[in-house]
Every structure is written in structure tokens, then in C-alpha cells.
């Protein structure tokens, strides 16, 4: 049986993308699979009794070494802020390409704690900072120094000791450009080095808390239990910075979504599912429920989604237990079709993620196809003609070209870059007067304009000649031809309309990172947890790939 890939016009709607969950394809999971055989070590741990100082962790294999350099700094409660406007953080990190020398460490100590205001070099691959979850951190330090393990219930409510507030890579602030490292086999998946930074930073948080407790009470202190460490991740507080990324990297976005859609298609096409595969699916699903029921958020928007998810999953599990047998042809296709008919998007996408769990051979091959050589697709095929362009627009943008942009609500917002922080912002066009500095993220509007203009052109006019008088739309002409080859390259929604939920864009990207416990703090930023349940670096060699469902066990 041949199953078609799902229609981009449905999959690429923001409400759908904003319902995606982590899966076997997620970058933090593929990072762990790739680096499980690397030699992990803590090469330097030079902290004072309050936990301030420098530490270095590394992964080594053959002649390659990646080192995480950590700086723990003293800051006041007033200085601690997750917002992008902060200038000081509890800890700052740089991932160094190789083994840093003493001179490198001196240079990095002058620059890494300053983050955007510092300057990195081509030897550094990623940069980040993090703040303590003070309540949890102090509780853990106190408990350990008194010889007691912390309150697991309290820990489970937060899920981490630190949360990162930004992770940078690829050429920012002097960091190595991607071209320098793109041919390294071990980092062929997207964001692999950023994942490494976050993973090693998580270990630093455990080592730091143990160190402070020990210094506080050398005789009585105990170390944080390894099982508790495993159930803690590292938090992340994320704002609009992520949103333009998925608009500005269309072929990359396509490759992420295409991998997911291809996995689903292949799984639906499996005629006979082995018992062991069905068991893995059911097992992961059952265990994962704990991740949903322990998902805390104050956001009414997310609470409603979680409530529906729990109710839908109960329906689905009842179906699996009471009515469904895997001893039939194409069982996953039947389950998928049933989900589409009976469940909401949040649950459908949850089940799609779950369906991948038994199938390493499908997921692992696709992981290697999730990067993109974007430069290859930059040139516009100017010998094509208007008829081709119009046909692509009508096929790939059928909903976007119907939006009426003469209506105020369809133009409600605009995207701009803040001068102070070089970060994207979203503002109401009718309440702010700087919309002349709008960023080109209103793709639906520009596509609409392009379509209107294409209607009054001669069919045979070449794109080269069309552009002579229409270069104001050159950026969307380029995108149109990209979308012809990459059907999942474009968000099929209006990114400036009054109904826009920017966190849908953030959630999409974070789900591919492998985050869970999405906790929207407003419609423009959210907190998440990464690596919760992940094996500790010393246990990587024999880890269970379904670790993400083991948290809080």
C-alpha cells in the first residue's frame, strides 16, 4: 500500500506546527546516539566554596575533542533575569573546538561572561548562558549539605537546576562559521553542537551543586543521587528569537518536516508489525503519560491543550487495550486514520511521535537528511516563465493567496529587530510607528502581492525579465521556486495577522530540538525542559534510547 505524504497545506498551518512534540528525530536524542561512544571527561573543576570559578568538560574520539568551558559567576538577585535584556548570568558557557590552553581560558574568561558584548573566535563553536532556578538550587544545596536528598516532588515541579536563556552558534559574535565544520560526520545533524553544550552544561549544574554542598558541610554532605540527576534536565527560557529562524531557513525547515512526514508515511506503509515493535510503541506511550500528567504550566492556553491531550490519550489507550489488535495489516495506518478522525492536533502529533519509537531503522536514516546546504538553492531560475511561477503559487500557496490583506486584522503585526539587543520583536502596526523598519517575515502578504502581479503578466515572460520591474518582490520569487522543490519549506499561515500565536513558531522549533514540558509565559515566550530523563555522561555507553519516557520513574 502506498501512503501519500501529508498535505503541506495542512501540516504547515501554525496551529498544527504548534502541536508538534519531541520524537526520535529530535536533535537532542540524535546527539546522544551519535556521541554515546565518545570519551567523556571532566578536565578542570576550579570552583571556590560558593561554586564560582571555571570548569571544563570534554568529549573525545580519535583525534577530535570538543570542550565545554563553564564560568560560574556571582550575581545579585536583582541582576538575575531570564529576559534578553539581562547583562549578567549565573553561568556562561562556550563550546571550544579542541582542548583549550591556559591562554584560551584567559581569553574566554574575559569574553564568555559578557555574552553578546564579548567577542569569540573561530575556535569556539557555541555560546550560551544560564540562570539558576534559585528556589530549587538553594533547596538542593541545603538538603545535600545536611546529608539529605532533596524533595523529589518539589524537583519534579520545576525539573531543572538551571535554565539557559540563550544558546548561540554559527558565526554569531565571532563563533566559527558553519562552513568550517559542516563536513564533520559527527555533527551532520542540525544543532548538534548546541545540544552538546546544553547537555554538558546540565552535568556542570550537578557538579556545582555537589561541590557547594560539600564545601558547606564537608563531613555531613552527600552527593545528589544519580537517579535524581537523571530526572533533572536543563531548562530553557525562549523568546521570539527562534521565530524568524524558521522563516529565514526554508530548505532547512522543509528537511525537518519532511523527515517527520517521511517517517510517518513509512510507518503507515508497514504491512505487518512485529509483536516486539507493537510492544515498544505501547510501552513508550504508557510511560510517556507521566510526562504529560507532570506537565505544569500557568498558561491557560497550554492548560487547555494538555487537558485535551490527556483526555484524547485516554481514549486512544482504551482503543489500544480493548478494541485494537496489531495482528492485522497496516495497523499503524489504521491507528493514524482513527486518530485523525477522533482526536485533536495536539494528540495526533503526539501519537505520530510515538509511532517512530520502535523503528530505529527508519528514524536513524532520516536524521542524516535533516541538515541543508542552503546556498545551493539561492539562485533564482530566471529562464523559467511567469506561467511556471503562477502555477507554483497556486499549488504551493493556495491558502495564502486567498488572504485579503486590505483588511486591517490581516496586517495587525510587524516584525522588527531591536537595536539594543539585535533580537526580533513583534509589534502592533497600528500602535507603533516604526513599521517602516519591518523585517521581511510577512511572507503571506508578499506572496499575495506577487500572485496579483503575476496575474497581469504575459505567460511567456521570463522571470529574468519580470524581475527587471519587480525586484521589490525578488525575495519571494526566490522562495516560490524553493518551495517548488521543498514543499514543506513554508509556513502556510499569515505571520502578521491578528490571530497569530508566535509561540506556535517557537514550539515547532523546540519540538525538533527535543524539548518537552512547554510552558508558555505569554504568547511570545515560553519555558521548556531539555534532557530530562537523559542518561548522565558516564552512563552514555549503555543508555536506553527511550530515556525520555523514563523521567520521574
Amino acid at each position: 500500500m502506498k501512503i501519500n505524504l501529508r498535505d503541506p497545506n495542512i501540516v504547515m498551518k501554525l496551529s498544527k506546527l504548534g502541536s508538534f512534540h519531541q520524537s526520535k528525530l529530535s536533535f537532542l536524542r540524535s546527539f546522544l546516539r551519535e556521541f554515546k561512544d565518545w570519551k567523556y571527561s571532566r578536565d578542570l573543576f576550579n570552583l571556590d566554596e560558593n561554586g564560582y570559578g571555571t570548569a571544563v568538560y570534554s568529549f573525545k574520539k580519535n583525534k577530535r575533542t570538543y570542550s565545554l568551558v563553564c564560568f560560574a559567576n556571582k550575581i545579585t538577585a536583582e541582576e538575575r533575569s531570564d529576559r534578553v535584556i539581562a547583562t549578567k548570568w549565573d553561568a556562561s558557557f562556550a563550546l571550544y573546538d579542541g582542548t583549550p590552553t591556559k591562554k584560551d581560558l584567559e581569553r574566554l574568561s574575559d569574553n564568555v561572561p559578557k555574552q553578546e558584548a564579548g567577542r569569540l573566535s573561530y575556535k569556539e563553536l557555541s555560546l550560551a548562558r544560564a540562570n539558576k532556578s534559585v528556589r530549587i538550587f538553594d533547596h538542593v544545596v541545603k538538603g545535600l549539605s545536611d546529608g539529605k536528598q532533596p524533595d523529589k516532588e518539589l524537583l519534579s515541579k520545576v525539573g531543572y537546576l538551571y535554565r539557559t536563556t540563550a544558546v548561540y552558534g554559527s558565526g554569531k559574535f565571532g563563533l566559527a562559521d558553519r562552513f568550517r565544520i559542516k563536513n564533520r560526520e559527527e555533527i551532520c545533524g542540525p544543532f548538534r553542537l548546541e545540544m552538546m553544550l546544553v547537555y554538558l552544561a546540565r552535568q556542570f549544574t550537578f557538579d556545582q551543586v555537589n561541590h557547594i554542598a560539600k564545601c558547606k558541610n564537608p563531613k555531613k554532605a552527600v552527593e545528589l543521587d544519580n537517579d535524581i540527576c537523571g530526572n533533572l534536565g536543563i531548562g530553557n527560557s525562549t523568546g521570539l528569537g527562534l521565530a524568524p529562524f524558521i522563516v529565514n531557513h526554508p530548505t532547512l525547515l522543509n528537511n525537518w518536516i519532511l523527515a517527520r512526514e517521511t517517517a510517518l508515511k513509512k510507518i503507515r506503509e508497514i504491512k505487518f508489525v512485529k509483536k516486539i515493535e507493537a510492544d515498544v510503541f505501547k510501552n513508550c506511550l504508557n510511560k510517556s503519560i507521566k510526562n504529560v500528567t507532570s506537565w505544569n504550566t500557568d498558561s491557560e492556553f497550554q492548560q487547555k491543550k494538555i487537558k485535551e491531550l490527556i483526555s484524547d490519550l485516554n481514549k486512544f489507550i482504551t482503543l489500544l487495550e480493548k478494541e485494537f489488535s496489531f495482528e492485522r495489516e497496516y495497523p499503524f495506518n489504521d491507528l493514524y486514520l482513527w486518530s485523525e478522525e477522533n482526536l485533536g492536533d495536539e494528540s495526533i502529533e503526539y501519537i505520530v511521535s510515538m509511532m517512530m519509537e520502535p523503528f530505529d531503522e527508519i528514524a536513524n536514516l532520516l536524521v542524516n537528511q535533516m541538515s541543508s546546504e542552503e546556498e545551493k538553492y539561492f539562485s533564482i531560475p530566471t529562464s523559467r516563465n511567469i506561467s511556471d511561477l503562477r502555477e507554483i503559487l497556486e499549488k504551493q500557496y493556495s491558502d495564502l493567496i486567498k488572504i485579503d490583506f486590505s483588511k486591517k486584522e490581516n496586517n495587525q503585526y510587524f516584525w522588527f529587530i531591536s537595536k539594543n539587543k539585535r533580537e526580533p520583536r513583534l509589534a502592533d502596526r497600528y500602535l507603533n510607528n516604526c513599521s517602516d523598519l519591518e523585517e521581511p517575515l510577512a511572507i503571506a502578504k508578499d506572496i499575495n502581492k506577487l500572485y496579483e502581479r503575476s496575474l497581469i503578466q504575459n505567460n511567456n515572460l521570463t522571470i529574468g525579465k519580470f524581475l527587471i520591474g519587480n525586484n521589490d518582490l525578488r525575495h519571494v520569487v526566490r522562495r516560490t521556486f524553493i518551495t517548488e522543490k521543498f514543499p514543506y519549506a513554508e509556513i502556510q499561515d499569515n505571520t502578521i495577522g491578528s490571530k497569530l500565536m508566535p509561540i506556535d513558531m517557537l514550539r515547532l522549533k523546540l519540538s525538533f530540538f527535543g524539548a518537552n514540558k512547554f510552558d508558555p509565559r505569554s504568547d511570545k515566550w515560553l519555558r521548556i525542559n531539555m534532557f530530562q530523563g537523559a542518561p548522565l555522561p558516564n552512563d552514555l555507553k549503555s543508555f536506553d534510547d527511550h530515556w525520555i519516557y523514563n523521567s520521574l520513574s
Partner: protein, 202 residues
């Protein structure tokens, strides 16, 4: 050292500020990145070009012909964009001449990318300086100046046919040597070791 990412994005934003459309600003970003990666003074020339851009009018060209002359210097960006967009047609002209192009360094990356699009090397001569543009992979040149080049008086662009740099005799010499890696096939070897079967279409 500035990264190529920073060069690309800064050149793009600055170009938008100067009034270019987003699509053209994207082209400029990529081009300056390419120039700087290849060691040519992109930032320096772009900066100077922008300083003069508002006061001094440059001549925009839309349709490029075999010979293009203007008393006012041609804008290298608009000339470059149109060269890129029309290259598949212009290729038939074999050779194209421009007179009077402002900041000709800024034209080079458009031509370099055009070379990749049409799959032919492009030979470019700006006054006395020569550039061989190799499918956007590399640029060979006798130009090593890192300074601002405000004007190119005469510019000649040739589309080079795809041909080898060696003759048949030279090729045969090398090929003969490589043949020593092959095994002389006996009837028995032919019968037993060929994978495609004993007749061509079985």
C-alpha cells in the same frame, strides 16, 4: 575577525537601509560574503559605494546588450543583478563589453555566480586586471590590490567554452599509464567473472 555570517547579514541590512529591495539586499549580502571569503575587498568597496550612492547618481541598466556604454558610471549592483538574471540569454553573445562601471569589484561576485549557473568559466578583464571565474568555486586573478577601486573604464566579459587545458596526446600519455591498473582478460576470466551475463541482453 568578522565571521562570514556577520558580513552577510550586515551587508544585507545596510543594503536595505540604502533603499535596495530585500531580494537585492540578500544578493548583496551573499556577494560581499563571497568576496571576503576569496580575499577580495568587498566591505571596503561596498562602504565607499554607499557613501557616494545618495549624492552621486549611478546609471541603472535593465537589459544588457553586447556593448553597454554610459557617460554616468553604471551601478555595479543593478548591472550585476541583471547580468545574473539574464545570463542564460546573454551567454549566446559570447562576449560583452561595458564602459564605465562604478566599483567594479562589486560586479565580480554576480559574474562568479553566473559562471556556476551557466556551467561555463567566465573571463573578466577590468582595465588591465584579469579575472578567471571558475564556476563560483574560485577566482584566479593578477589583481592583488586590497584598496577601493572606484571605477572600471573598460570591462570585457567572455564566456569560455568548456574545453580541456591539455591536448589529446597529453591525455593519451596519462591514460596509457593508468591502463597498467587493468587486468588482461582471458576467455576463462570472461566466462567466470563477468557479472552481466554471457549475452548482452539476458
Amino acid at each position: 575577525m568578522k565571521t562570514l555570517y556577520e558580513i552577510d547579514i550586515t551587508a544585507k541590512r545596510a543594503s536595505k537601509v540604502m533603499g535596495f529591495s530585500w531580494g537585492i539586499a540578500e544578493e548583496i549580502g551573499k556577494n560581499i560574503r563571497l568576496l571576503e571569503m576569496l580575499g577580495l575587498p568587498g566591505i571596503k568597496n561596498l562602504n565607499q559605494y554607499f557613501k557616494l550612492y545618495k549624492d552621486k547618481q549611478f546609471q541603472n541598466i535593465s537589459l544588457i546588450t553586447k556593448t553597454n556604454t554610459s557617460k554616468i558610471p553604471y551601478c555595479p549592483i543593478i548591472a550585476g543583478v541583471n547580468f545574473l538574471d539574464q545570463v542564460t540569454i546573454m551567454e549566446e553573445l559570447d562576449e560583452i563589453d561595458f564602459e564605465n562601471v562604478a566599483f567594479p569589484i562589486l560586479l565580480i561576485p554576480f559574474l562568479s555566480r553566473a559562471s556556476e549557473i551557466i556551467g561555463k568559466k567566465i573571463f573578466l578583464k577590468i582595465d588591465e586586471k584579469e579575472f578567471l571565474l571558475n564556476f563560483n568555486q574560485s577566482i584566479y586573478s593578477n589583481y592583488s590590490n586590497k584598496e577601493i577601486w572606484e571605477k572600471g573604464e573598460t570591462i570585457n566579459i567572455k564566456f569560455l567554452d568548456n574545453k580541456n587545458s591539455f591536448n589529446e596526446k597529453e591525455w593519451q600519455e596519462l591514460y596509457k599509464l593508468s591502463e597498467d591498473r587493468f587486468v588482461e582478460e582471458t576467455e576463462e576470466l570472461m566466462q567466470k567473472t563477468a557479472g552481466a551475463g554471457l549475452i548482452d541482453n539476458d
